[in-house]
Symmetry: C2
Subunit: 192 residues, 2 copies
């Protein structure tokens, strides 16, 4: 539960974020949100128009946090390869999956342009940031000049998102780690 | 709808397979299954113990079909690189996502060892088959001898599974294709 100092509005948003991550949009009922937030139905409709409006606030916040933490790792010091490796090896709660990526499997989120927008924008921003780093690595001769930076960036983000799928299927983070190591081995600059 | 020649049991399984792919387990109600199958509640309980039992039959069949079609492509003629490329480029209904991989985001499927088993076994079998092909490519000098076949196989399957996430987020198959091209560029044997 949440501290008494947190406003009802905040508790509603935080409860929705957790439930979306655990159960998805379809599996998250207004009743479950109210129970977890310790709030009444009236307070939910005082602050939000309904479940989609509350979910939008929750998804936007989750997306902003994910983007900020990804950018912080990608902008850490090091060579382009080291920065991409830091992103791929970043500490993650692998078996919980990605709180943003998992929303793509939610048909009601994907069918609603407002709910889908932050999911799309976040993954696109991370890909674009990685593509810039790959481009820098090409200029510095660390990556082959024939590589397409956008394609490599897509492969990097896909490996992370698909790594969650493999880890959850097997019930162990090992498959996530294996995929990351495989991609990094392929991406590693040739030894001089 | 289904042909009159299809048995009620078959219609129930096929309807459940479609709904699990579209809506997930949590989002699939027994009522929706019965409506799509054109069957009554009595006939469902005549053939199956309930939703989990019916879902197990549906998931097993979907998993078997996915594995068979993946193996058919992986065992097609060609060099190890060409066989992996054929798997990655295989025609897919990208925006629908993977009918097996998407189940990993279903908390009720993951929490039930019986329902999770076919998901785990299918993805593990595809990874193992790809690892054998990578090993063959190493023996033939097509892939670097330093690569770990299991890690490369995990990266290949993760790129596919994560490619679905990127494609659904952006509403276009382009991101899937970009990730596949990026991985294939990294995996390509060096030109002589």
């Amino acid at each position: 539960m949440y501290s008494a100092a947190m406003s009802t509005q905040e508790r509603l948003i935080e409860s929705t974020r957790e439930l979306l991550w655990e159960r998805g949009y379809v599996g998250t009922s207004p009743k479950a949100i109210l129970e977890r937030a310790g709030a009444g139905q009236g307070s939910m409709y005082h602050h939000f128009k309904g479940k989609p409006d509350l979910a939008l606030a929750a998804i936007r916040r989750t997306a902003e946090e994910l983007l900020a933490s990804a950018e912080a790792v990608l902008d850490s010091p090091g060579t382009p390869y080291e920065r991409i490796a830091a992103y791929l090896r970043r500490e993650r709660d692998v078996l919980r999956g990605c709180p943003v990526g998992r929303l793509t499997m939610d048909p009601d989120v994907m069918a609603d342009p407002d709910l889908r927008a932050p999911v799309d924008a976040t993954l696109a921003s991370i890909r674009a940031r990685i593509a810039e780093i790959v481009e820098l690595g090409k200029e510095q001769g660390q990556f082959a000049s024939t590589l397409d930076a956008g394609e490599i960036a897509s492969a990097v983000v896909a490996t992370v998102q698909g790594g969650y799928v493999l880890a959850r299927a097997s019930g162990s983070p090992d498959a996530f780690d294996a995929g990351v190591r495989g991609l990094l081995a392929l991406l590693a600059p040739p030894r001089r």
